[in-house]
């Protein structure tokens, strides 16, 4: 995991993206992922946080082909190739949804509220989708 508190340079900002919506019912999860990828391609320091219903995106064993939808987990697997290493899931969100022991499709750092507060505080911009 890269240091999230390191100060940015002029064109490298610390950008945090918080994805809050469940997959498939809306296209916002894909919209957030696209922003994350774009930020990574443009060499920003990226934090990708799954919170609230957004943690459902991480659950493995999904079969989106059943509804003609795209599988986000395939793109999640490519995040590290894009240099997105800081991927987090909010602990409280996982607990509320009974997902604390769920098998997730990618490795994430499960963080508590205080840690998420610090991420937000250390970020230059935060996008909540």
């Amino acid at each position: 995991m890269t240091d999230t508190s390191a100060p940015p340079s002029a064109s490298h900002r610390r950008l945090t993206f918080i994805s809050r919506r469940a997959p498939f019912g809306e296209d916002y999860p894909r919209a957030c992922l696209d922003m994350v990828m774009a930020a990574a391609v443009f060499d920003q320091q990226v934090n990708y946080v799954f919170m609230d219903d957004g943690v459902h995106q991480l659950v493995s064993g999904q079969a989106p082909a059943a509804i003609g939808a795209k599988d986000l987990s395939a793109q999640f697997a490519a995040l590290s190739l894009y240099g997105v290493e800081n991927v987090f899931a909010d602990r409280q969100s996982l607990l509320e949804r009974g997902l604390e022991n769920a098998v997730l499709s990618i490795p994430v750092d499960v963080i508590d509220n205080a840690c998420l507060q610090r991420l937000i505080q250390d970020s230059d911009q935060v996008f909540v989708l």
């Binding site: 900002r13 296209d27 696209d34 922003m35 774009a38 443009f42 920003q44 911009q125 996008f127």
Partner: protein
């Protein structure tokens, strides 16, 4: 201050687009610069020249176009959002063999890189969504 504004919602369907318009007007009146106006997701509908507003409602796309022209605001409709929603300029209409183009000449179609670029060059980024 240099402010980037991101609009995620279509006109009229949700209030956010109208709020964003008022925010931009207030920011400009206060002497700030709208560094970039980025229409993302359903927000690209604000850049259509084909929307017809009801006579007793504010013509939100027209108001955006007026604001953009008056203040020469760098305005982008995100290409992936625009294509999915049938907001096309002449180039994309030809590329995808569609019967018409409808993108306002006040906006250009471009990618999310423009949003990231704007984010790195702005003092503030404000999102309006639903």
């Amino acid at each position: 201050m240099k402010i980037t504004v991101v609009v995620h919602t279509a006109p009229w369907s949700h209030q956010a687009s109208a709020t964003a318009l008022r925010f931009c007007q207030a920011a400009l009146k206060a002497g700030h610069v709208i560094h970039r106006l980025f229409f993302y997701y359903d927000g690209v509908h604000n850049t259509s020249t084909l929307a017809v507003s009801a006579q007793d409602e504010i013509d939100i796309p027209a108001e955006w176009q007026r604001l953009i022209r008056e203040h020469e605001i760098d305005t982008v409709a995100c290409v992936s959002s625009a294509l999915k929603r049938g907001i096309l300029n002449d180039t994309e209409a030809a590329r995808y063999e569609r019967t018409a183009s409808n993108l306002s000449p006040a906006a250009e179609i471009s990618g999310l890189g423009q949003l990231i670029d704007a984010t790195t060059h702005s003092d503030r980024v404000v999102n309006f969504g639903a």
